[in-house]
């Protein structure tokens, strides 16, 4: 009797928390969306779709998922989405960016944990994922230490967690082999959860569909890096929609956006002054609605040309190359794609990240780099030193900021970003003279 009462209270409390948090979360979204749409003129018309998607992020039935399909949450870019699509399930990348859910997650985790981890656990524990979807399986790659332990903490949801083992280096043949075995194991898990068998036909189709989306994304990237026709805050929303949107409709709307932007290029329409400092963002990933840094940079007159984030380019850039379209070649090809080109700092060494940054700086004519680290995100924090050294050698001005999901440090950040952008402009003038 006592136990029943306690259970009741639990659920009662649970319901109340969910209700209150939903309201807060929705307000948080509303605020961010207002900043994204209202503070800037010249938003592309084709962005409307992506704005709406985000506005309705945690409202039920907003994402058009078919209820008959299983939903599988993924927590990192290392989960091969093609496999999930091929077994007829819906992949939802569930890394969360909300301050509201971070506070919910804080109840489970040490105070110094990374805000993304807190936010993600909070969102999963209180059913506040995109579209309030309740995943049938949560695939959690063992990347950084904090994500690794995520599945053990809240017993109520831990049975849904599946730990996807990861090697801690990607350069050796042994790690490649180990990772391939892990992927095979994941396939068996996916098959048992969905009840569907992975076939060569379904996997080929999934690979091709994702490749089609990537082709459009690369085109999008080419457009925004060659002319300032779309702001970085919009670009981040496009990639962020890839987390939860239906692949087909995402591709369709990105294509529309590309067409509009190409038109802007032709007519010479620019969203910022050509002289605005060109910024490259890197570090801990900005996930909607945590658009603090990107918004700040662009509100203060910078132009974000590109991001090296696992929530954007790192997730979408790299492709699968298959030689023989049978499962025996497709699966290893897929495994390679999710290991070899990754520049996640959980790998050591991670020199590819520096090389990628340097090549982006040269190719996209970057004036300055903004490198953000979340408080408690140790791996990115450690790599900050390495990046600082490389950027110094390359003679690129870099702003390092430590921040989190709370809005408290906005004032201080504004001053720093403003000063940084000012010094970029100043340097550029000096170069011109």
């Amino acid at each position: 009797m006592k136990k029943m009462m306690k259970d009741n209270q639990q659920t009662d409390r649970f319901q109340r928390v969910v209700k209150a948090a939903s309201i807060h979360y929705d307000m948080e979204i509303g605020k961010t969306m207002a900043a994204i749409t209202d503070d800037f003129p010249d938003n592309p018309a084709a962005m409307k779709y992506f704005y709406e998607k985000h506005r309705n992020l945690i409202r039920n039935d907003s994402n058009g998922k078919l209820p008959s399909k299983k939903t599988i949450a993924t927590l990192c870019i290392h989960v091969p989405v093609e496999l999930i699509l091929a077994v007829g399930a819906i992949p939802v990348r569930s890394c969360a960016g909300a301050f509201t859910t971070e506070q919910l997650g804080a109840e489970f985790l040490p105070a110094k944990s990374c805000p993304m981890v807190k936010s993600t656990l909070g969102a999963i524990s209180y059913n506040l994922l995109h579209g309030k979807v309740q995943p049938d399986l949560i695939i959690n790659p063992a990347t950084c230490d904090q994500k690794k332990k995520l599945g053990e903490i809240n017993e109520e949801i831990s049975e849904k967690f599946y730990l996807l083992e990861m090697p801690s280096t990607k350069d050796s043949e042994e790690s490649r082999e180990y990772w391939l075995q892990t992927v095979f194991k994941l396939i068996r898990k996916l098959e048992s959860v969905t009840g569907n068998k992975l076939t060569a036909k379904s996997l080929k189709r999934a690979i091709q569909e994702v490749a089609h989306a990537q082709r459009l994304y690369r085109k999008f990237n080419h457009i925004r890096t060659s002319a300032p026709v779309i702001l970085g805050k919009d670009a981040l929303l496009v990639t962020n929609a890839f987390f939860f949107d239906d692949l087909e409709s995402w591709s369709f709307h990105l294509n529309l956006l590309n067409e509009e932007l190409e038109n802007r290029m032709k007519t010479g329409f620019r969203v910022v002054n050509e002289r605005a400092p060109r910024i490259l963002l890197t570090g801990s990933p900005s996930v909607f609605p945590n658009m603090k840094m990107p918004l700040l940079v662009e509100e203060l007159g910078g132009f974000i040309v590109s991001e090296e984030f696992c929530s954007s380019s790192r997730m979408l850039w790299d492709t699968v190359a298959v030689d023989e379209w049978h499962l025996y070649d497709m699966i290893p090809a897929l495994a390679d794609r999710y290991l070899k080109p990754s520049t996640c700092p959980n790998f050591s060494p991670n020199t590819d990240r520096i090389r990628k940054l340097l090549s982006a700086i040269e190719e996209y004519k970057i004036d300055g780099v903004v490198c953000q680290t979340f408080t408690g995100c140790q791996l990115y924090d450690m790599e900050t030193r390495i990046i600082a050294k490389a950027m110094e050698q390359a003679g690129i001005q870099t702003l390092f900021v430590e921040t989190d999901y709370s809005p408290e440090d906005i004032g201080q950040l504004t001053t720093r970003v403003e000063a940084f952008l000012h010094s970029l402009k100043h340097n550029r003038k000096k170069q011109l003279i």
Binding site: F252, T319, V322
Partner: protein, 347 residues
């Protein structure tokens, strides 16, 4: 100036088209053509000399020329004093002819022209059609295996010299070892079959040497077919012609170059490589990227999704480069997609 601009534009357009091309398909047709040429060309009174840097096997009636390995083995059947005389000069001019042929196509002789290579590719196609998986070497054994071809190359030079000279005071090698590589080469047994000539498939019981060598020859022939079915380009790992060519591949006119700063080390090139070269993906410092097993089939360039990371050059002019656009054009098959372009929902 104006006309020069037009020419440049025109060339750029051609290059743009070339970058989107499906080189593998083109290669299939070139291979078919060169296979017929190398195997039956002789019947059409084509003669291309006896220094051909590929398996134009003279044991085959229809061959339009002679593989340089046989010419080299014959040419080195010299005593030391002969080697520095006019006979040595003859060997030297023959060698220069070989180089002259070779530098034009570089190692593309393996990927586009070699009839044994073409045969292996066809066997691979057959296996793919049936849907049987291929095997790969693990990298450790790969590193060991690729040295075998150099051992064979050294033997191929040393044995003819050892027949005319005495090494370390030993007796000269038996003359039954003449053209030792040809005795074990699968080209000798297989290519005459194209002219319906089965006379090369035999075991010679004359003496111990011929018995061993001819048996080896038959075994290697059998291994050629079995190996090619299990492993792409199986024989090429042991091919001394490939080793000999690689020694001079740096002076080739046709080049494969890499711009390491554009490379993400995604490994696509290594994945599609028929001979499993890892260096093509991992090496981000070398400009000149032809490794010793490379046959210049350019599948890596096709599979590279980065702009101008891998380039095929003639001298220094790029004729085919890796591009994002080309990659997606080759790898996405539109009929696989359920794209509803007319779909018009503004949710």
């Amino acid at each position: 100036m104006y006309s020069r601009n037009i020419t440049m534009n025109y060339l750029q357009n051609i290059k743009h088209k070339a970058d989107r091309a499906n080189v593998s398909r083109l290669r299939f047709w070139i291979q078919l053509f060169t296979f017929l040429l190398i195997v039956y060309g002789g019947y059409f009174f084509i003669h291309i000399g006896s220094q051909v840097p590929t398996f134009a096997c003279p044991y085959n009636q229809g061959s339009p020329g002679t593989c340089y390995l046989i010419a080299m083995q014959h040419g080195l059947h010299l005593t030391w004093s002969e080697l520095v005389s006019y006979r040595g000069l003859a060997f030297f001019t023959g060698f220069l002819t070989f180089i002259g042929f070779f530098i034009v196509f570089n190692k593309a002789w393996c990927g586009f022209i070699c009839p044994l290579g073409t045969l292996q590719d066809w066997i691979t196609k057959l296996r793919y059609k049936i849907g049987i998986r291929f095997s790969r070497y693990d990298s450790a054994s790969f590193q060991k295996l690729k040295k075998i071809k150099y051992v064979i190359l050294v033997l191929l030079i040393a044995i003819p010299l050892g027949m005319s000279n005495s090494f370390f005071g030993l007796a000269p090698i038996n003359h039954d070892m003449q053209s030792p590589f040809c005795q074990v080469c699968p080209g000798r047994t297989i290519l005459p079959l194209a002219s319906a000539d089965t006379s090369q498939i035999f075991i010679d019981f004359t003496n111990k040497t011929t018995l061993v060598m001819s048996t080896l020859g038959i075994l290697i022939t059998a291994l050629f077919f079995v190996g090619a079915f299990a492993k792409k380009r199986f024989f090429c790992f042991f091919c001394p012609m490939s080793a000999l060519q690689f020694l001079f591949s740096r002076i080739g006119i046709l080049r494969l170059t890499k711009n390491g700063s554009n490379c993400t080390r995604c490994g696509n090139c290594n994945r599609v490589c028929d001979v499993g070269i890892i260096g093509i993906a991992e090496d981000i410092t070398s400009k000149y990227i032809v490794k010793d097993d490379c046959m210049m089939c350019f599948k890596c360039v096709e599979a590279c999704p980065e702009d101008n990371c891998l380039d095929v050059r003639v001298f220094n002019a790029k004729i085919f480069s890796s591009t994002q656009e080309g990659f997606f054009k080759r790898y996405i098959q539109p009929n696989e997609l359920s794209l509803k372009n007319e779909k018009n929902d503004e949710r």
